[in-house]
Symmetry: C2
Subunit: 241 residues, 2 copies
Amino acid sequence: MADRQDIHTSGVPALCEACEARHRGICGALSPDQLLGLSKTSSKQKIEAGAELVGDQETIDHYSNVLGGVVKLTKTLSDGRQQIVGLQFAPDFLGRPFRAESAINAEAATDVALCSFPKATIERMMKESPGLEHLLLTQTLKELDEARDWMVTLGRKTAAEKVASFLLLIARNIDPTARTRPGASFDLPLTRADIADFLGLTIETVSRQLTRLRADGVIRIENNRHVVIDHMARLEARSGI
Amino acid sequence: MADRQDIHTSGVPALCEACEARHRGICGALSPDQLLGLSKTSSKQKIEAGAELVGDQETIDHYSNVLGGVVKLTKTLSDGRQQIVGLQFAPDFLGRPFRAESAINAEAATDVALCSFPKATIERMMKESPGLEHLLLTQTLKELDEARDWMVTLGRKTAAEKVASFLLLIARNIDPTARTRPGASFDLPLTRADIADFLGLTIETVSRQLTRLRADGVIRIENNRHVVIDHMARLEARSGI
DNA sequence: CGTAAGTTTGAGCAGGTTCAACCGGTGTGG
DNA sequence: CCACACCGGTTGAACCTGCTCAAACTTACG
């Protein structure tokens, strides 16, 4: 358990040393002391695709950082119609603060790596260090911005525009080179059914629109899951900006 | 400018004495000193329906509290298609913290009463008092919850269910008795065009669905604007819960 | 009284859904 | 080893909800 002691990791728990959440995530707001305290009660875990992380109306007793993979947040009507209301990527914080019960369902869309810790610990630290609450506010505002962007897509875009918008969203979140290169390449983290639930469409419509984008040479699809976009600009032109 | 000095208002600026935002809104998190400081640079104003409060891509230099009326937040695609992405009622806080530019458009849906103050003042106070940031986080989380509920409506509900859901939303936010009595009664704060932009529908479809609800005896409509709901339960049954 | 803005109503159309069949890869058991 | 079932995905055809275009109506207001 002896940490390598240098300028950057002095006092940082071994568990957290290489962790992305320490740099771009919630843990960056914690003092070394707090980080140490949190790391004692936290645990990294691998979750496989399809597993439920938080059930609707379940009491919440822990929060998590997403360290890898994609988590989908869903809501379901009583007759089974489902809508994905959020996607979380590393290093997002997973959990609804200040609520005993979850109003949404969280499920691993791909294999997921999490770092979980007790709700009580974080809520105590939030009272101690304003920086943590500030970071949470920042992330929540970002999620609200994204949700509102998505409301435009759901309410006002055509099926073709919805699918193009979705591909752009995924490319920007998964392929780190997508912001610099003119193209992108990635594995879709969602099944056709998930994409349909995300876009408020049926799987058939999603499939047809993907086929059409491929036929028009805007994207290439390999193995049903891997997508190559040569010219992001052409996809953007179809996303109804 | 001499304040009446009693237990509840000691040190409270005259401007703020009867203000709802002091109790249920953002200002409740401020110390008497801060409230005084803020009140010196803030101004109450009446805005008439239709006026633009914040333009898309405009630089933000002030925030506001909504003291009365309804503010609609909209996003518009380049070809003019529009979507309402949020409605704000008293005593909501209006403005996007930590952003120089607005990504959305804010417009008075009805006549609106605001209390505005400089962005810089609030951001300084946020650093001083964690309670303020906590309240902002709370409101932002609430808005995120609402946005996600609305994504389900936009993505998965039928036109009939959308209109019923909208009426329920308004009833709960405008008619204070709606939570206790079985019925409700209120003026619609939005035109048919606004309702359509809110629901991702056309005005014709909204009109037809309202007519149908009226024909079925679920609601009564007077003067095109005033709505009476005798049995909320019947409306809920049509909202696709 | 006349105009304008907002709303309702009607008829035809089309985008997306529904229902159904098929395809290809993978895992399982005889 | 092959037959078979299963799962995710694709494709086709018919249908229907909500949209488009057009016209009438209602209310407010000068």
